[in-house]
């Protein structure tokens, strides 16, 4: 017999290193660059400052929560531009239901000092509904995700502005404010990341997501209800954007209609830096988490080097494009090999 067949019962050997290792190397590289530049220009260590690191993690974890949802949308072969606006809309709604009774200009004077569960649920519902609308539009009317979520982005932002005619909403109860206090956002992020890491890796939910992203037609023929799953994923993305919105507003103790502007792009950038392919079918939560930290290190590194905020924005743009270039390059290599 000459044919080499698969050996039953042997475990699956991993010949190639997982892609996350490469991204981790990038993270290490960038951190070291800042460390060295730090010693040269500032005369101090970048990494050896736990306070700086914890602030950095705190800064990125809110958008990180969004990125977990966005990662799944991108793996599915879609895109979500509405998450930043959902943050804004959620912030307004939840804060308006979380105000203290001692504040005499509350939005709903009869609805103050409510238990924290009320603004929480109300906020999450906003995201769930917006996400579901996105999903239904994309799955059943077959309009491109870019357009559907662009529409939601504009509409949700409009809603946030209309809600109080542009007035900020403030004075939350202590229990609501606790959702954003201290390191709570980081813990919420970690919990969300853990849940969806497991879901993508070990459950049918995850397998369907990758399958649809890789080949929606084959997924359908294999018995997957593709439309329903698309709705599910966009709904989850909306839900996570809402959760992020609640955390931001709780932390800021105030809600404004402009909250979360551009968050969607930062979240997409984190995913793409973390190796999630815009072509669909590829990417992991772990990758996005590393992408998120890279993102944070760069921002906090620039601040540390006292780089002007304007430069920071420009360089952020460059980094996002570079990450996509890397993705395209990876795919080319895949086609060409050798």
């Amino acid at each position: 017999m000459t044919t080499a067949t698969t050996q039953p019962t042997t475990e699956r050997p991993q010949r190639r290193l997982p892609q996350e290792v490469n991204i981790l190397m990038v993270l290490v590289g960038i951190s070291l660059v800042f460390e060295i530049l730090g010693w040269i220009t500032q005369g101090q260590s970048f990494l050896g400052n736990p306070q700086r690191l914890s602030i950095m993690i705190l800064q990125v974890s809110v958008i990180g929560i969004i990125a977990i949802g966005v990662t799944q949308v991108i793996i599915l072969g879609g895109i979500d531009l509405s998450s930043g606006s959902i943050v804004g809309a959620t912030a307004m709604i939840s804060m308006s239901l979380a105000q203290v009774g001692t504040f005499d200009r509350a939005i709903y004077p009869g609805l103050t000092d409510l238990p924290v569960i009320v603004p929480l649920i109300a906020g999450l519902m906003v995201g769930l509904i917006a996400g579901t609308v996105n999903g239904v539009l994309i799955a059943y009317t077959k309009i491109p995700p870019f357009i559907a979520t662009l529409g939601m982005m504009v509409a949700a932002r409009g809603f946030a502005k209309w809600y109080t005619k542009g007035q900020p909403v403030s004075f939350p109860t202590d229990s609501f404010a606790a959702l954003g206090k201290g390191m709570t956002p980081v813990f919420i992020f970690l919990l969300v990341a853990a849940i969806f890491h497991v879901a993508l890796k070990y459950t049918r939910y995850g397998k369907y997501t990758y399958a649809i992203g890789a080949n929606p037609q084959a997924a359908r023929v294999s018995g997957i209800n593709v439309e329903r799953h698309i709705v599910k994923i966009y709904a989850v993305a909306g839900l996570l954007a809402a959760l992020a919105g609640i955390v931001v507003t709780a932390r800021g103790l105030t809600a404004q209609a402009g909250m979360g502007v551009m968050y969607e792009l930062d979240a997409i950038a984190m995913a793409v830096i973390g190796g999630v392919s815009l072509a669909g079918g590829r990417g992991t939560i772990l990758g996005t988490m590393i992408g998120m930290v890279i993102f944070g290190v760069i921002i906090s590194g620039f601040t540390f080097l006292r780089l002007d905020a304007y430069y920071q924005e420009m360089i952020k743009g460059v980094i996002i494009v570079a990450a996509v270039v890397a993705d395209v390059h990876r795919q080319k290599k895949r086609v060409k090999k050798s």
Partner: protein, 512 residues
């Protein structure tokens, strides 16, 4: 008038080409991570001949062809073209040097017209330097006239059937007027009529002095069209012979290293009650009034020419594109099959015709590809997959079908075409269907594995599975079916029983 010295030079080149072949390959080696795909192989193609390249699935045929077409770079070895050593840096480079290729997996752009696909990068321009669409359509029509292809140059590729796409690929490759033309399984998706048509085209090209490399798993074609053939086994060169000197069995022995006694090991088994019945299924403009019964333990062959809409009927049964009128009954009860998911709930499985479009998840690994259908129903608790059990099942099935891959974590895009097909068969067999619909089940599968898969199908039938098998290979239809349904342009042309059926009767019904 050419001078004597020029004539002598031309003569020398001619002699060298005669001795060396128009294309000669020596000592080629190509390694992929974990696989030595080609190990010191050689091939010599002479002008004006058809050179068949034979070997099992994963033997390295496509890999060598991709090297010749400039897609892969070899790790070692040399290529000479028209007597001169060359390096082929890219597909474009190879094309410009006179080598064109028809790929095993179709590679047309779906959202462009036939004409745009054929002339891409060579579009005729008007005086303003813009693309002259009228001229492009005319050029296409001329090409089609020359090749006797009947297709609208302005049709969208996405609207074509697999077979029509294949004809477009062929026309595109011919349009380059290359000296060397590579055809990697060009007939795996087309029926006898188109095959005959293709062979006319090939003979014409051969007469013009083109050197043709032809890969196929259909033995009969080898003797019909090939002048010489070369066999590879497991990435190694086995030998080159003239097609006149050998028998079918010799070649099979060279390919698989053993004899294959029975290509169609049909098991006779009792045929039970009707499991699936179709009554007047219709999609206006596609197929009309399709009615048939499929019984427990029966293999119903479905034959017909390209355009007979056999695949559309299968898709309708499985709910991919449900019929707009008519009835489907399972076990005598009318059912509404609105999606593949519903079909699977009724115990159906459907191996589709086009493995790239509707079959494989190319960027995912083998295991994910095998388990997709299974995990929509079994081995899942609270959404969590019992991965250990599923992996075991997948591994056993892959071993049974002799899928050639270093391991199941390999990405499917890295597998050879035939092995991808085996994975898809594994996917459906794992769901333990009661009704199995197979559309070209052995497409691109080598002789050895083919007889293996036939054994499996007839084994399933003897266990009571009802099988509907579409196949464009008449020997397969004849060898495997209990009954044969023949379709003609969207209508059922007739049924033939196993004992009365032969090629002529089928073709009579199919062509009317």
């Amino acid at each position: 008038m050419v001078s004597a010295s020029t004539a002598a030079a031309v003569d020398r080149v001619k002699q060298r080409i005669d001795a060396e072949g128009i294309l000669a390959i020596r000592g080629i080696r190509k390694e992929f991570p974990g696989v030595l795909a080609l190990d010191d192989v050689q091939l010599k193609v002479r002008p004006g001949t058809v050179h068949a390249l034979m070997g099992e699935n994963g033997a390295g045929k496509s890999t060598l062809m991709k090297i010749i077409a400039g897609i892969y770079q070899p790790d070692a070895g040399e290529i000479t073209l028209r007597g001169k050593p060359v390096t082929l840096k890219s597909p474009l480079d190879a094309l410009e040097q006179g080598i064109s290729m028809i790929h095993q997996e179709l590679a047309l752009m779906n959202w462009m017209t036939v004409a745009e696909n054929i002339w891409i990068r060579r579009e005729p321009k008007n005086v303003f330097g813009l693309i002259d669409h009228g001229k492009m359509a005319r050029q296409t029509q001329e090409l089609f006239d020359r090749l006797n292809i009947r297709l609208d140059p302005l049709a969208m590729v996405s609207e074509l059937t697999v077979a029509q796409k294949q004809m477009v690929e062929i026309a595109k490759a011919v349009s380059h007027n290359s000296d060397v033309l590579i055809m990697d399984e060009p007939t795996s998706a087309i029926t006898e009529n188109e095959v005959a048509h293709l062979f006319t085209i090939i003979r014409d090209l051969r007469a013009r002095g083109v050197g043709i490399v032809y890969i196929t798993h259909k033995m009969s074609e080898l003797f019909e069209i090939a002048d010489e053939f070369t066999v590879f086994r497991d990435g190694k060169y086995v030998g080159t012979h003239s097609a006149l000197d050998v028998t079918r069995d010799d070649i099979i022995r060279m390919m698989v290293g053993r004899d294959i006694t029975d290509m169609f090991p049909k098991i006779d088994c009792p045929i039970g009650e009707v499991v699936l019945e179709a009554r007047n299924l219709t999609i206006p403009g596609v197929f009309h009034d399709v009615s048939f019964q499929l019984r427990k333990g029966e293999i119903l062959g479905l034959a017909g020419l390209v355009g007979s809409k056999r695949s559309n009927v299968a898709e309708a049964l499985f709910g991919v594109h449900p019929a707009s009128s008519g009835e489907v009954l399972i076990d005598g009860t009318p059912v509404q099959i609105t999606s593949p998911k519903v079909a699977m709930e009724h115990g159906m499985a459907f191996l589709t015709e086009d493995r790239k479009e509707t079959g494989c998840f190319l960027i995912l690994d083998c295991l994910e590809n095998i388990q997709t259908a299974l995990i929509t129903r079994d081995h899942v608790r609270f959404g969590f997959i019992d991965q250990k059990a599923v992996t075991k099942l997948a591994e056993d099935m892959a071993a049974k079908l002799r899928v050639k891959t270093p391991n199941l974590a390999e990405k499917v895009e890295n597998l050879s075409g035939g092995n991808q097909q085996k994975l898809l068969i594994a996917r459906w067999l794992l769901t333990k269907p009661r009704i199995l619909i197979l559309d070209e089940p052995t497409r691109g599968i080598d002789v050895g594995a083919k007889s293996e898969i036939h054994r499996l199908i007839t084994g399933l039938a003897s266990e009571g599975v009802a099988v509907l098998m579409i196949s464009s290979e008449l020997p397969e239809v004849l060898g495997m079916s209990d009954r044969i349904m023949v379709m003609h342009e969207g209508h059922v042309a007739g049924f033939l029983n196993r004992d009365e059926a032969d090629q002529v009767k089928i073709m009579d019904l199919a062509a009317r």
